[in-house]
Amino acid sequence: MRRIVSGWLLLTCLGLAGPVALGQAQLGLEVESRDIYAGEPFTVALRVENFSSCDPPVFPDLPGCTVRSLGQQESSQTYIVNGRMTSSTRRTYRFELTAREAGELVIPPVTVSVDGRALQTPPVRVDVQPGDAGELFFVEITSDHRRIYVGQRVRLVLTIWVQPVRVQGRDISSNYMRGQLRVINLGPFRGEVESATERRRGSDGSTQTYYTYKTWAEFVADRPGRLSFDDIELGIQYPTELSRDIFGQLYPTAYRNLRASPRVGEIEVLPLPAAGRPANFTGAVGTFDLVVRASPMAVRVGEPIQLTIEIRGDGPLETLPGPNLAADPLLNNGFRVPAEELAGEVVGSRKIFTQMIRPERPDLTEIPSLEYPYFDPDRGLYLVAVSEPIPISVTPAPTLDTGALAERIGVPRDAPTADLHVLDGLRGNETREDVLLRSVSRVSLEALAWATCTPPAAFLLVWAGSLYMRTGGVTRRRRQRALRSARRRLDQARQRPPREAGGAIAAALAGYLGERFNQPVGRMIGPAALDFLAERTGAPELRERWREVLERSERATFGAAAEGDTDALVDEAQACLTALERERI
């Protein structure tokens, strides 16, 4: 195994043309690989430094070696030393070389025009070792068919063969090797990849284990000859040395860049035979059925009939051409058929074409059978799919000239309506003045916005108002809390000394009356409250109880009540409140 140095190894000179001095243009050629094998690409870099202008180089032709440009890179650097600024520009042109044979390869001097001067690299010698890439990695394309026809759809299988790398006496895994593959161009092969392990006899006769990766494509050959896929190319970074990282995962410390184009099996593409080819053959290859539908089936002369032509079969539907209706003599005898090619639509395993035809005569009774000739590759014969004739009804129609209209005027009123339709399919004018002069303005989005936005605002206003009313406003709220407030105050009075409790009870009762009847509390103190009750209630017992409670409260205020009287007085006041609540006032 050969180690690949992590950086690029300078194999050969920086062949400097002319004296090297700061600020003077320089040209060099590097071979950026150490081990070079026949059939494996390696990279050569042509570097130009300290230049103002530089023409693109033309790499010389090398016998026995293919050269491919990989493009160019450019970088600039600026140095400031002791206050002096120096800039340099470097441009690198890379080329990929692949030597076909082992031996010494000489890269001749490369001339580049730099800053108006022709600079030249010295020749470089490269030792090309015999290649074994074809044993390690190769690609094959196979098919079940040895001979196919132009336009025939076949299934091709592309197999990638990779010889597994052995690590410590064991083959490295198939998944790892698959991860090293590089797809450069897979052409039409887009199918799922299936991995397997197979054994195969090598060129030296020994049996070798390979990992295989298979994919497939439906392929339609478009020209006769040997099948080839020169554009397909795959690569692999084939590890030559492996190490394990701290997690135990393998990683390559050296590898070879291998590339392969597919070897295509013996598959010959034949042209379609000229013998027996129908005149209206449009290029369909496969086996097909034809179903035709028409709509409408009752028309007048000149009116369109839509033909829906459905083709089912095993041929390549995407590229399947439609039938050449314009060349169908039966159809063209009585129908006007557009000359343009049909554009079909693939629906599942069918391709559907539509075409409008127009009957030219009223004596037509059917759309004749349509033919769809195709070439059957299995039988090697031209066959014709034929549709069933479709019965139709064609009635005469006048031409749309103004002269025909006069006939309509002459038609008697009692003539059947159908006759009028036959004469002219256009319905008459609107003659009502009010309808014709009525004006409809354009729809105003602003008005519509008003109509849709104002009602919810009105609803919100009404809803808010009703909500306010339901909660009763200040008066109702005051009335609602009158009893609760009075009872709370009476409960608080129980905790007070008898002198204070009497005043608190009288105040609670006055407060109750004031809030219940939405009156100033000051008007409900003492006898005024009794007068008010006399006015508003018809229950003398209640007034009497109220008066009694007020008197006892007054007595308690002046110290004429015992300690236990407060509770009794509060209870009586509560009873008065309850009684008054029951009254409908």
């Binding site: 256009l426 319905r427 004018n429 014709l436 303005s441 519509l448």
Partner: protein, 275 residues
């Protein structure tokens, strides 16, 4: 009914009346008597053209032109209704101008989609168009599903939207006073239907502003892949007068259009007229 509910109802009725004004009348530019005179002249010319068509075709054509000019004068004066557009379509059809016939039938259909005569003549005229372009399947399905949007006039939908919204909210307001479940359900349904129709109107306005429908008029014209006569044709067959399409955008005297089958391309701006 409480005074508040009554007030709200009056407010909503006022809104309805305010809405009705911009949705209905707009004064035409010429006096009504003069309008009637022009209309009679157009109708008479059309009838006379039909009468003399067989014997004196040139004279009939002249009379059709006179009828067309009369109808067009009314339209230019601000009279806008489906019947007038329909008559204009008929007149253009008689003059052999299939493109403008379809254009006016489309305008009539837009104003009154339920008008049977408009629909029949439009269908009849469409059958003469070459090539016949079938709408894409998806577009057809969508039109069937959203039939209210496509088969009712924008004007009618705007009216219904306003009316249903106001009625729905009115029911909801009444429901505040008499909390009946049926009122709430009817009100909510009314509001939702009204808002849906309002959305439909807004959508159509936006859609027509963005991609106005148009019709090919005049001579058959080649659909091209780019703007300018130097661009490659997009279709082998030229688009004849009457082909219906949508204008996507305009550039340098050319318009990019989309056909009913979703094919796009460019046409000279003078070859199409917006519906």
């Amino acid at each position: 009914m409480t005074p508040r509910v009554l007030t709200a109802a009056l407010v909503l009725a006022g809104v309805a009346a305010g809405l009705a004004f911009p949705l209905t009348a707009r004064a035409a530019g010429i006096p009504p008597e003069r309008q009637r005179e022009i209309l009679r002249r157009g109708l008479d010319a059309f009838d006379e053209a039909v009468r003399v068509a067989q014997q004196r075709a040139a004279e009939a054509e002249e009379l059709y032109r006179e009828a067309r000019n009369a109808f067009a004068a009314l339209r230019d004066a601000g009279v806008r209704n489906a019947a007038l557009e329909y008559n204009l379509g008929n007149t253009h059809f008689r003059l052999g101008d299939l493109g403008r016939a379809i254009l006016h039938y489309r305008r009539a259909e837009r104003l009154e989609p339920s008008n049977e005569r408009v629909r029949e003549n439009l269908e009849y005229a469409r059958r003469q168009v070459e090539p016949l372009i079938e709408p894409a399947g998806q577009a057809r399905l969508w039109r069937d599903l959203a039939f209210v949007h496509y088969r009712t006039s924008m004007h009618g939908r705007a009216w219904a939207a306003g009316g249903l919204t106001i009625l729905g909210w009115l029911l909801l307001i009444v429901r505040l006073r008499w909390p009946a479940r049926s009122l709430a359900v009817a009100g909510v349904i009314g509001v939702l239907l009204g808002l849906s129709l309002a959305g439909s109107v807004a959508w159509q306005t936006r859609e027509e502003g963005q991609w106005p429908p148009a019709v090919v008029v005049g001579e058959p014209v080649v659909l091209r892949l780019g703007w300018g006569e130097g661009s490659d044709p997009a279709l082998k067959q030229p688009l004849g007068p009457g082909v219906e399409l949508w204008v996507l955008h305009e550039r340098g005297g050319w318009v990019e259009v989309r056909l009913p089958n979703n094919q796009t391309g460019w046409l000279p701006a003078v070859a199409v007229e917006r519906v």
